[in-house]
Symmetry: C2
Subunit: 121 residues, 2 copies
Amino acid sequence: MSHTVINLADKLSKINEHWSPRVVAEMNELQFKLVKLGGEFVWHQHDDTDEAFLVLDGQIRIDFRDGVVELGAGEMYVVPRGVSHRPVAEQEASVMLIEPRGVVNTGEAGGELTAENDRWI
Amino acid sequence: MSHTVINLADKLSKINEHWSPRVVAEMNELQFKLVKLGGEFVWHQHDDTDEAFLVLDGQIRIDFRDGVVELGAGEMYVVPRGVSHRPVAEQEASVMLIEPRGVVNTGEAGGELTAENDRWI
């Protein structure tokens, strides 16, 4: 059994791309992923799972069809399954995503921002 | 649908007890719980689930039968299911626990530190 601690700042320092989630831990069927946001993501939804966002650094916005949430460091929000949303970061921001293994970052929308899964850091 | 952001520092400021986890969010079958640690908890294990610890403030130690991990703010660790462990905080520390709804804080050990579940804050 590993007794290695996961230091989130250390892990983030190794991420140089936007919208490219990296797995740092697993718990049951879930993955904890770190991702750097920059600019506007695509509108998408995840029909089979909720998705938790915890902001570690910077500010993000999550647009919904009927509103918006703005999140700073130390703030979190859970996007319910099936709800169309668009993450946006005017300036680079760092986020921890918590969601089940296998969730595709662009949901049903696909497109060029679709990231490969299970990339550990 | 609620567009209310969860500010972890605000939530923590409302917790005045040690070892009394408070739910701040749910995602699928999981709960995100904030807890303030102080002193030594009881040795226990959770046979049916892993348990994620993310330290928000202060320093904690998790003792295992075969070792120890020490965690500061911004560090996380996932205790595998079935592994006996004992959280310790020499000074008060604040932690986010991520685990399925219904997990009892003292696992199979029980005792006076067993906390009521589903207390939201």
